[in-house]
């Protein structure tokens, strides 16, 4: 079979002064008609850059250095802009990662999709309307007539991604480039979108170049896999070959970092009583709008939530976006005020305390935040960031900085980091700083709100490892808010599953994963991409993760 697209010796040069000379270097691969090729790699591996080069959407400062992208007799890398435009959105189209921002907020869905016909065809207004309607039906959107008139903000993330797919497939392109199209979606929505892409791809025999960082997704959807590392392609092969018998060290490392879905056997330790933290009937309701003229929109983010957390235990709080897991975690550390219920920290009620009475309790329960890039003040040095808390609690400045130095050693960062600023560190290193900052208070309870979800898999494994070690050494109680069930399966002793503000299931991790009792838990677990791949724990050892779970 003749390849549809040939990437030949492609090199893309980055502007001078970057951290490396080439975004991608000497990349070669073919895309066959009707196949799904997954391009996998961590952030900065150059996987998106290749896609942008094919689409002709590279930023102006970045240029193709050498090589060619052959499609239908054209070299896309050197094609004049006005000719490339006739292919773009027509023969080759693309969908993006962030459905929330990828659509024009001021334009109706119909106009955005119909624009593709307007630009590339001579269809009449009526024809455009009819085709758009048919497309919305094809991508499985409910009530397509109403959808036509909707604005993007009225749709959910999954629905917006369906609109994007409709737009991309409008003219039945030969190639669809999907750049992390499900990364921003919840696991159940992700499963639906993956299914949709596969269905439509079969139906129209479209070749799909699917860019992802998630090996679970690869296992779910790929025919062939290309693995990229720092701009170079290190491995290319059939899915099963790459996933089960990786050749290159980097591929091996990446796959080993993917936590297996089965929760490891743990010795069931008797829980240390009394619990360090106990939450009873916690409620938090959000009201938006509402006045004497209109009815308020009411969302119950925490609805009668009760649980206990013990020393030396990792308790997972899992659920999809909007399930209320972050709200609960923020209420527990009193960053948010809950409406009612009780929060007891080693016996003392803190739910109803005022700012002043709460102050001495603050240091005993600390939080690690999700986004390591946004949670550290860019104008303070690492030392100041860590020492600020203890100083606020009354520790002399000198002691606080001495302690910061100790903590840096504890989270395995060089002492020299103390005088540096956050921007000098990578995401994983910053998250270590975030952990050191939380530990500066010698807390008894550590609340980690999606503390690893912004990180690459291999870095995730290291941070999880660190948290596990620290938990043991300091006898911490960890409340681990996480949406990634694979991670939850590995690190949590017990899990709580939340849906729409309510706890639907709670129990030992292994038991919940092996025999989920609630339908929602079942559907969550069934939606995990690549659930059949690596369902055995013994195949590859996830370094660090396993060790902590033993």
């Amino acid at each position: 079979m003749k390849p549809l697209l040939k990437v030949e010796n492609l090199s893309i040069r980055l502007p001078a002064g970057g951290d490396r000379e080439f975004a991608i270097r000497n990349v070669n691969y073919d895309l066959m008609p009707g196949e799904i090729l997954c391009v996998v790699g961590e952030s900065g591996s150059g996987k998106s850059m290749t896609a942008n080069a094919i689409m002709g959407l590279l930023p102006k400062v970045i240029t193709v250095d050498k090589g060619a992208v052959i499609f239908d007799g054209y070299d896309l890398a050197s094609l004049e802009e006005h000719r490339a435009r006739t292919l773009r959105g027509n023969r080759i189209s693309m969908i993006f990662q962030e459905p929330m921002t990828a659509l024009n907020p001021l334009m109706r869905v119909e106009d955005q999709i119909a624009e593709v016909f307007l630009v590339h065809t001579k269809m009449t207004r009526k024809q455009r309307h009819d085709r758009t309607l048919a497309l919305l039906e094809d991508v499985g959107l409910p009530d397509p007539h109403k959808m036509l008139r909707a604005y993007p903000h009225q749709l959910s993330g999954g629905q917006r991604q369906r609109v994007m797919i409709a737009m991309a497939l409008a003219l039945e392109p030969s190639i669809l480039i999907a750049d992390e199209p499900t990364t921003a979606l919840d696991v159940t929505t992700q499963a639906q979108i993956l299914k949709l892409i596969k269905e439509l791809q079969r139906k129209h025999n479209t070749a799909v170049m699917f860019i992802t960082h998630d090996f679970g997704v690869v296992a779910e959807i790929a025919d062939r896999v290309a693995v990229m590392e720092k701009g170079e392609m290190v491995e290319l092969g059939n899915r099963d070959a790459v996933l089960n018998n990786p050749q290159h060290d980097y591929t091996k490392k990446l796959i080993a970092a993917v936590p297996p879905l089965v929760s490891p056997k743990r010795e069931i330790k008797p829980l240390q009583v009394p619990p360090i933290l106990s939450v009873e009937n916690l409620c938090k309701t959000y009201r938006t709008g509402g006045s004497w003229l209109s009815k308020a929109r009411i969302v119950k983010a925490a609805d009668d939530v009760s649980f206990e957390l013990h020393r030396g235990e990792t308790l997972g709080l899992v659920g999809e976006s909007g399930s209320g897991k972050s709200t609960v975690s923020r209420c527990v550390v009193r960053l948010l005020n809950s409406d009612s219920g009780k929060i007891r920290l080693s016996g003392s009620e803190i739910q109803s305390l005022g700012t002043k009475e709460l102050a001495p309790f603050r240091k005993r329960i600390q939080m690690v935040f999700q986004d390591p890039y946004a949670s550290l003040n860019p104008r303070k040095t690492i030392g100041q960031i860590i020492a600020d808390g203890p100083i606020a609690q009354g520790m002399p400045r000198k002691d606080a900085f001495a302690k910061a130095a100790e903590l840096l050693a504890l989270v395995e960062l060089p002492i020299a980091a103390i005088d540096r600023y956050p921007h000098e560190f990578s995401g994983g290193q910053r998250q270590r700083v975030g952990i050191a900052r939380a530990l500066a208070h010698d807390p008894e309870v550590l609340v980690a709100d999606e503390a690893i979800s912004a990180l690459d898999v291999s870095v995730q494994a290291q941070i999880l490892d660190l948290i596990e070690t620290l938990k043991k050494r300091l006898n911490l109680a960890v409340l681990f808010v996480v949406h990634d069930l694979r991670v939850a399966a590995q690190v949590c002793d017990r899990v709580i599953v939340m849906q729409k503000g309510k706890i639907v299931e709670m129990g030992d991790t292994r038991q919940v994963f092996e025999s989920p009792a609630h339908d929602y838990t079942k559907s969550l677990i069934a939606s995990i991409p690549g659930a059949n791949w690596r369902s055995d724990t013994t195949a590859v050892t996830a370094s660090g993760v396993q060790e902590g779970a033993a």
Partner: protein, 327 residues
Amino acid sequence: MSIQTLLYIAGRLVKGGVVLLVIAIFNFFLIRMAPGDPAQVLAGEAGATDEIFLQQLREQFGLDQPLYYQLWIYVSNLMQFDMGITYRQQMPVFDLIMERMPATLLLTGAAFLLSLVLGILAGVVAAAKHRQWLDSVITVAALIFYATPLFWLAMMAALFFSVYLDWLPSFGMQTVGENFTGWQKVKDIGLHLILPAATLGLFFTAVYARMTRTSMIETSRLDFVKTAKAKGMKPSRVTTHHILRNALLPVVTLAGLQAGQLIGGAVLTETVFAWPGIGRLMFEALFQRDYNLLLGVFFISSAMVVLFNLVTDVIYCIVDPRIELSK
């Protein structure tokens, strides 16, 4: 428009009424805090300064009454949409303001349109030529107009275009002594309008240009612009259909602010160019301590601000579907 929107607008109008009342009371005290006495000004102009005449004038205007009583009279009249009589012209304040209104609206309206069109245009061009020489020219020019005091600019413009070049008239709204009619009159007023309107509009032109430029550049980096490019559209269509509409949202907010100044914002310009509008009326009333007239101008100006705040919100809700008018 939905029932909810209409109810919202009605609610805002009621609230606006309350705000205006508070402003009126505040203004009343503010004016009385200034030294001076209208009776003395009037008597001085009449050439009579004896105590009895002054007393008569004070009685006539009710200025001999206690302050709280004067406030009560003023507010209760205002509630009946009566702004009182000017001390000097002995005309109803409202009539006098209405008489001057067209001149002011012509001036401020022209300046408003000029600055919107010119400012947005300059901003779009500058963003399109980002980091090229034309961008620098526009940015620097905008900065200069942004930073230059209005009155100085007005005087320099008059000096240059009227006195030195003798191209344009430097004061008034129509040529004195000529009784033009029809198109000739339009042309005459148009020529008189150029300098004051340009002077008044330049500041906001600069503001719009800077804002549009920044907003265009920011918007062009957003994801949906990439989506639009990926559809294979021409750059010009991407700019007009996707970037510009989104980029103009913050400009709408500023335009609402400027629109609020349509009546009260031209005092300096009208004074320098002797434009027979409300601004100059206010300026004169200030020197004559014509309390009623001053309060009237203040009231109408603040009513405009309150009104245009509401209009801006309604427009915002029309141009941005994400915003709903209900709170």
